[in-house]
């Protein structure tokens, strides 16, 4: 069985093609989906890609979160389908209330682009089982509005229930509370993060490693984890 993973293109999405490519490299079939359709075309998992949907107008991800297809995305997420939101996709997931909290302008007001070290805090989500708990990975980060915030009660709940999926290590690039880089929902099928796993899936195009320049493929584990999660459900 070939796992089919949909990538939704919104007006202003940038990394939809990269996400499709990453899915193909990981061994699944990417399916291009359109924000204006009420149709997930029978996919097994979903990626909401990075970019600047609607020019970040109103709030990052806010208008995209009201797109027609988001009705189906919310239904699918509720049924347990693996959903990954990357960067702008993460912003859409919080705006759609599929993940708690919010994302605001980086604390230093600067757009930040760097190869970012993260610690995998929760290796039992649909998108992280191919990592070890506590494993450190390096994938690209590029955002202007990646400061994660939540009120004290929400933050305590997130931390208490182990919903922090990824934490920034070394540098907190955007002022995120508790160094939070990514979150999961309680069920573990919906995951969102600001850094970009899809940009670290192919040797020659990833972050530099000690072994060789641009050889980092730490992002691959996100997609192979989801493929395994779908296969487990199907079995």
């Amino acid at each position: 069985m070939t796992v089919r993973i949909g990538v939704i293109t919104f007006p202003g999405s940038l990394d939809d093609r990269d996400a499709q490519r990453a899915i193909r490299i990981a061994g699944a079939e990417p399916v291009a989906l359109w924000h204006g359709a009420h149709d997930l075309e029978g996919v097994d998992a979903l990626v909401l890609p990075g970019g600047f949907s609607y020019g970040d107008y109103l709030r990052s991800g806010a208008i995209a979160a009201l797109s027609p297809i988001m009705t189906e995305v919310k239904d699918a997420a509720g049924r347990g389908m693996p959903v990954l939101g990357i960067c702008n996709g993460f912003q859409m997931l919080v705006e759609a209330h599929l993940l708690p909290g919010g994302l605001i302008r980086n604390a230093n007001q600067q757009f930040v682009r760097r190869d970012q070290r993260l610690r995998v805090e929760n290796a039992s989500t649909a998108w992280t089982t191919d990592f070890a708990e506590g494993q450190e990975i390096v994938i690209p980060l590029k955002n202007g509005e990646g400061g994660y915030i939540a009120d004290a009660g929400t933050l305590a709940r997130i931390e208490g229930e182990g919903l922090v999926a990824f934490r920034y290590v070394g540098v907190n690039p955007n002022g995120s509370l508790d160094d939070i880089a990514g979150l999961t929902n309680e069920r573990g099928n919906v995951v969102g993060l600001m850094p970009h796993p899809e940009h670290a899936t192919e040797p020659g195009f990833g972050p530099d490693t000690a072994a060789a320049m641009r050889s980092g493929v730490d992002g691959l584990g996100f997609f192979t984890s989801a493929i395994a999660a779908v296969a487990r459900v199907a079995a």
Binding site: A62, G101, A107, N108, Q109, G147, I149, G175
Partner: protein, 82 residues
Amino acid sequence: MPTIVVDVMPKAELLDPQGKAVAGALSRLGVDTFTGVRIGKRFELAVDGPVDDAMLAQVRQVADDILSNAVIEDVIGIEVVE
């Protein structure tokens, strides 16, 4: 034609990076009158007819659900301007 003005501000307890940057610029220019700057949003909703309670209720709904995100912002005012 009346306009309904909705004002949205970042929550008081949150860092407002934009306001902080403007406050820093003012202080660099030697303007030291203001102890703080915060930046919010003003929405002007144009309507055709007279504004009634039902319409205001709808504005309140839209302001809470779409124009603002309660996690990071507060709707601090809804006002009808003729």
